[in-house]
Point group: C2
Chain length 503, copies 2
């Protein structure tokens, strides 16, 4: 294999373009012929299906049920929200007509089909779910109400990037209502914990877990919690959020219940979500200059087998061996799901074929030719390290879950090292400013990483720092027992926060 | 239990209202606060999830991959189709603006955000998938291309009924492209066969499989095939379709490939789909005057356990026994999925609780009280027959899959009897007209059933029959070897068709 990398440009040359190229070369998704939207191709969608399967089990195992709410939200619902939510997002798709008509051979919205009230394509289902909750919840007996939805969401975006920012994206949104503040808080942390387990143990992405500052939180929430992850360019990406909404949302949506003594109370609510954006994170955390690398636990296929056929005579025999191996491997259960194996019999040159799988990031690539069959072995390449070795077929099958777990662990360890090495505890304002000032003016896209500091959370200071350095409070990771000095103003504070540039 | 039925009105009193009441009483879905849309509640969505799980496996096992295409279709894409598709549907949601603005305290579409080209919320993804196929397919090596999508779809409806006809609904749409006509035809029948297996062996709904007449087929197809099922009011409901599109669609979307000799050919394509409408069919085929009855293989829960607690002293003990039983039962795999058991500990009277589950249609209701624990038995009710008996707990657990299969079979047999008894082979035009003329003028909603007749498929005659009797050709079930006489005009024909009133 050539020394030249498969992806151009490389990470060092141009990180943003490298990202787009990896997505394209891995055949994950492409821009749709509709502005701002994407087509998620089978390899990318297979990844999302695995994310859904694993997360859906976690959501159900913690007592939630899935439901489905309508795509459209009446304008009046948003009007309610807009009136009292500062920073209400207004970029959305507005449906104004319900029929097309042909006028002089041209299709256009029929004038007489104009809607009395425009409909908005859901930018979140929050208001419509609130409306339903207010109907469904009458008594303490109806609580807790624990609902999740898998859906498509539209937020009009001017500048889009596949997975990271698109007009339409896919997500799950959990919405729950509880009798007490305590119970709702437990819910918020429970789901945050499930997300953390999912990120670290399935996506192999380490993260910081913490509370958002007033400036960065969801405006409707009392508190927003998030998981912050580090990309290879050392910028932060928020992987998901879990909101404690207090009684704000139940007051806006009139979600009330009769308690055991017949007293009417507002419910305590939460919401939490994760989107197809995590696929962008997955690409940016794990890929290298040869393309994508997928953690085995979420890979659409864990293994590809490439038959090495140099003459027609041996073809049938080799294919038969490959099929038998596929059959044996697919009987093996790997973390609650049978292993998936592809045999690539495409009419392509071997090198081209192998490189296509390297770029797609399949965890293990096997080559099987006449000599391997003679030796009863397979020629294996681990995508994450590109290590190659010949291994007895029997041993390979016997140890497959161990090998996959080992790859999964290596990927997590590598990402964790990157996070640790680029997270710096800083005790002085000057050092902080120096940390975030680009070292190389020609490459301002090379970032410093995460700074962990004591910060008093004063809003004016937070805004000033953002203005000066384009970095923000990603999350408040600890409320320490003892007070220390804020590194910016020396005020006493218990808050330790992560600052970083963010996607 | 009282003799009065749980659902008012009954099927005999008012079939259409009975349907709506069953859906409501079973807590499957309700009308959303958005005209024409529905909220699918957890019990209804659980059913859809099982339908998805089973069908998705069939789709994947036959070599298809899932992908995701954008929600919006540019108007120009439909323009192309509208120009050459007669009967092009124009009722759809039209997006014309991409931002809201606050004007005098009122939210409205921002004038300066008007789109140059309106976007349509997908009434099907056909045109957008066609566009992508034309990009993806270059060579015979790229074929067959076998893609499926699970998505939400919008077709503006003026008169809606939950599941049967709603502005937004959920479906899967398969789209495939092939090198040869033969291969595409095989695909069409393969998927029709998968649907038939799914309907009969999972939904316990018998059906007729056949080709649509020219008048009833999808206008863009060369041939449309469908499964036609019979509701309890003896009307037909089309459960799904599979279209052979020939090269029509590939010519419209420019889906071409280089064959092995370098010659450029148009691909042969198919499409096939099934929607949340089948939940409506499920309700109308299997429910009785006490509510819904769900076939065990697709039930969100197969079993509910109701602890019968008359005093606080025994409560803990009873709950413990119920939980142990749930644990044992949930270890049992029933048709590729672990059995799901609910324990209903709601603070409600026993009768009310039991009736709520009867109306929801859970296949088996167990009651466990102190006496049952003494006898080491459970008191079981089968929802489909309402039979009750006491059974040793050990025997129940040991035989659970047999009991569930028995219920599933009984449900299919009952539906099959209904279909057979109300399908009549007719050999004379007069008899045909008599068959479809309402017997009771006061109850025109009581229908005759299916008529199986030789029909020459003459379009004028078909239109006349529809006008006279409001019945249509549901499908052409057999192209017989020998010619017989058309019952309407005595012309020779090989076509045997099913006529019926349809939903």
């Amino acid at each position: 294999m050539s020394k030249k990398s498969a992806i151009t440009p490389t990470r060092d040359e141009d990180y943003a373009s490298w990202y787009q190229e990896v997505v394209k070369a891995a055949d994950l998704a492409e821009h749709a012929p509709v502005r701002g939207c994407m087509v998620i191709k089978p390899w990318g969608y297979g990844l999302w299906e695995n994310i859904q399967r694993i997360l859906d089990k976690k959501i159900k195992d913690t007592g939630h049920k899935n439901a489905y709410f309508p795509l459209f939200v009446p304008l009046s619902f948003l009007q309610k929200e807009a009136s009292h939510v500062e920073g209400f997002a207004k970029e959305c798709a507005v449906v104004t007509h319900h029929r097309l008509e042909m006028v002089n051979g041209k299709l256009e919205p029929a004038k007489d089909s104009k809607l009395e009230e425009p409909l908005i394509v859901r930018p979140t289902s929050e208001t419509i779910i609130g409306e339903m909750f207010s109907k469904w919840i009458k008594s303490y007996r109806d609580l807790p109400l624990l609902i999740n939805q898998w859906a498509n969401i539209v937020r009009w975006e001017m500048r889009t990037r596949l997975f990271l920012r698109t007009t339409e994206f896919l997500w799950q949104e959990g919405h729950t209502a509880h009798r007490t503040k305590k119970e709702a808080e437990v819910e918020v942390f429970k789901m945050l914990g499930e997300y953390k387990d999912f990120l670290e143990n399935y996506l192999a992405i380490p993260c910081f877990m913490g509370r958002k500052s007033e400036m960065e939180k969801f405006p409707g929430a009392v508190d927003t919690y998030a998981l912050e992850t580090m990309m290879q360019d050392k910028k932060a990406l928020q992987a998901c959020t879990s909101h404690f909404l207090g009684q704000n949302f139940s007051k806006a949506s009139d979600i009330k219940f009769n308690d055991e003594n017949g007293k009417v109370e507002y419910a305590w609510t939460t919401s939490w979500g994760l989107t197809t954006r995590v696929i962008g994170a997955l690409v940016m955390v794990h890929s290298d200059d040869d393309g994508f690398i997928i953690p085995p636990k979420v890979a659409p296929s864990q293994i590809v087998i490439i038959p090495v056929v140099h003459s027609d005579e041996v073809k049938d025999k080799i294919i038969k061996v490959c099929e038998k191996l596929k059959e044996d491997l697919e009987k093996v259960v790997y973390h609650n799901k049978n292993i998936v194996v592809e045999i690539d019999t495409r009419d392509l040159r071997g090198g081209e074929k192998k490189w296509s799988w390297i770029k797609k990031g399949v965890p293990i690539i096997l080559e099987i030719g006449p000599k391997d069959i003679e030796k009863e072995s397979v020629f294996m390449m681990r995508r994450n390290t590109l290590e190659k070795n010949s291994i007895k077929t029997g041993d390979f099958v016997k140890n497959i879950t161990k090998i996959l777990d080992d790859i999964q662990d290596q990927m997590y360890e590598k990402a964790k090292r990157h996070l640790d090495e680029n997270t710096k505890e800083i005790f002085e304002k000057d050092e902080f400013y120096k940390f975030f000032t680009p070292k190389n003016i020609e490459k301002p896209e090379i970032h410093a990483g995460f700074a962990k500091v004591y910060f008093c959370l004063d809003r004016n200071q937070e805004e000033k720092i953002k203005e000066d350095l384009s970095v923000s409070v990603r999350c408040i990771i600890e409320d320490e027992k003892e007070e220390k000095k804020c590194i910016f103003c020396s005020k006493k504070t218990k808050s330790k926060v992560i600052f970083a540039k963010a996607y």
